[in-house]
Assembly symmetry: C2
Homo-oligomer: 415 residues x 2
Amino acid sequence: MPPLLIKSVWKDHDLVDIFINEHYFQKIAKSISLDEVPKNTRVIDGAEKAIIPPFYNAHTHAAMTLLRGYADDMSLFKWLSEYIWPLEAKLTREDVYWGSRLAILEMIKSGTVFFSDMYWNREETIRAVIEMGVRATIGVTFAENLMSPKSIEDNFDFLEKNAACHERIQLAVMPHAVYTVGDVLWRRCAETAQRLGLVLHTHLAETTEEVENCIQKTGKTPVQYLDSLGVLNQNVVLAHAIHLTPEDIDILQKRDVTLVHNPSSNMKLSSGKMNISALMKAGIPIALGTDGASSNNNLDMREEMKFAALLAKVDGGPELLSADEVFHMATVQGSRAYQVNAGLIEEGKLADAILLDLNNERLIPNHHLVSNWVYAADARCIDKVICHGQILMENKSVENEIEILERVKKFAAKN
Amino acid sequence: MPPLLIKSVWKDHDLVDIFINEHYFQKIAKSISLDEVPKNTRVIDGAEKAIIPPFYNAHTHAAMTLLRGYADDMSLFKWLSEYIWPLEAKLTREDVYWGSRLAILEMIKSGTVFFSDMYWNREETIRAVIEMGVRATIGVTFAENLMSPKSIEDNFDFLEKNAACHERIQLAVMPHAVYTVGDVLWRRCAETAQRLGLVLHTHLAETTEEVENCIQKTGKTPVQYLDSLGVLNQNVVLAHAIHLTPEDIDILQKRDVTLVHNPSSNMKLSSGKMNISALMKAGIPIALGTDGASSNNNLDMREEMKFAALLAKVDGGPELLSADEVFHMATVQGSRAYQVNAGLIEEGKLADAILLDLNNERLIPNHHLVSNWVYAADARCIDKVICHGQILMENKSVENEIEILERVKKFAAKN
């Protein structure tokens, strides 16, 4: 992988040169001459381009791309029990591998270089991530309703042996939810995550039903229940976090957890609306996620930013969640939550970036680039996607694209 | 413009051949041989493509693309009075022409072949529509707060002389709103539209403020007020229609008007949510519109479909507004409302179509094409756009694209 020198590219309101070496932004300056960089450096013309941070998708289930459009427009219970679970039960390891590759292909093409994944057959997703050049936090998923005691032990074994997984991959401990994991296992998950320095990620307070059942069973809301078990701390990332009491919000703030907003999925499944206003007032960090493709039905973080901003405004007023704020959620907050030293185009940060084509009609006129990116753009505006100092997409194409599409079409034909 | 023969393209669940001649779908059959069609027919390979109806954007302000991203994330009043109106006051006819062309470019690239436009300097938008090959209903706009008595008379004069405007263009009478047009002018607009057989289109019940002011002034809701003036009938198309009483809904149903849903704009400006559930129960036809690019901030009807469906579901349950229903709004209902004999791929309909690329990753797996189109796709999935029997986009490009972009960039640089 040769070093990269991007010449004369727009960064915020300036034209700069950017030198990328050994996976990092090594130098950003008004002008960097060819004499300063190694001979094998690839020079990229930044004319009519802008460089911005790419997306960090803070909650998804990658291989569920296989179920895209398989069942829509129905109640959560019917959707899961009659369609999603029966088809998932038939998924082979190979299916998960190709579903993960399809997801990564889709993410790269829409400017996402990192995702946090909660699914089964994690080895297959790890293989896909390594091969395709993106970053990921891969979940070791726990759900007592679906797993034997032996496979739970295998999970912990896997965590102990693979905590330092790969330079672009971290593992995370992912108990599925308060209704699928019991006290004892929750405590053990939390202890393991803390000891190994890993993120703990779960679904929380996604539906009113979940909250009511938790109160009935434990006398506590999901947040208060997890807090009573000692689970919550700054390495915890909670997806959804829709149905919260003011006391819950106080606890989340004190424990310094990060939340993940998944507006498309929450809207499509009619789960409810995250209380952005109260959470922002409390200063609780919020990242952004697409959730899985079967409840979204894509993994397009640009579209997700627009959904987040507009959903906040519809009830909360037009000033709530500005373009800049939601862009921050989708970039800085996502990478920070998962301990990736990225999310900004700055010297010393990992070299992840999007080059935007300023000649795409959606970015014209260019009164405010971030507004255009959040509210007006689409993936056609992306000229190049860079992750870990390597170009993953250019000329609209990604390596081995056709093979991935053909394999997934075969999957669809047999199901 | 030669006839077109599209060979072996997916239509619904069948592979068909489609012959397009003299602006219409002339024949759709399992197989059409080259002997059956004129020698100058252009043959298009439909392999790995699906043909679907394109979009009919039922409410927009095309030239407001010039104001894309100029002001966001603020209250409606501040947005209009401090930003939008002062910049609009500076727009020249030439600006409106290039702004309209940018809008049409953006619409073609995202699969829209028709739009209903309410703006100023209509001659410029008409010129842009004729040159670029799309269809439009062009508004003759009335707003007493902004117009001299002379320009109002000029408007009526223009309507009388140009009622039969162009084979791809119809005029419509467009009084701006109940708060900008008085009784006498409302009655005259309605009489003129009826006599000339034109659509009457207006903004209605967009904000609670509008409704409260109307009640204070007239003792009636906006719907009841317009009904008392005899304005409402089956040739009336009302944009927004958010804040309605049950009595309003009864009246709209009886008068057989069509409504236009603009979910992105309504969310972004925090105007409120259309009551899709009640309106669908009442059987009132609803079309879909993007509104102007300064409150959206794009003209992407695919994205608008997803916003419509997900906004309906978030409060109304996951079954409300299915993918097929929202696709019907964006195609059949939009063309029907504006009296365009299109919106379906059927013999005898005007030849408007999108060819979708079934090898785009967003359309894979193809469990349900309409679901993929509504929830997962983006404009990259579009292979060709056809309007009035002519190909307006292929190989991702539209005629004179670069000139349009350069002209609008110059506009942005001076403002």
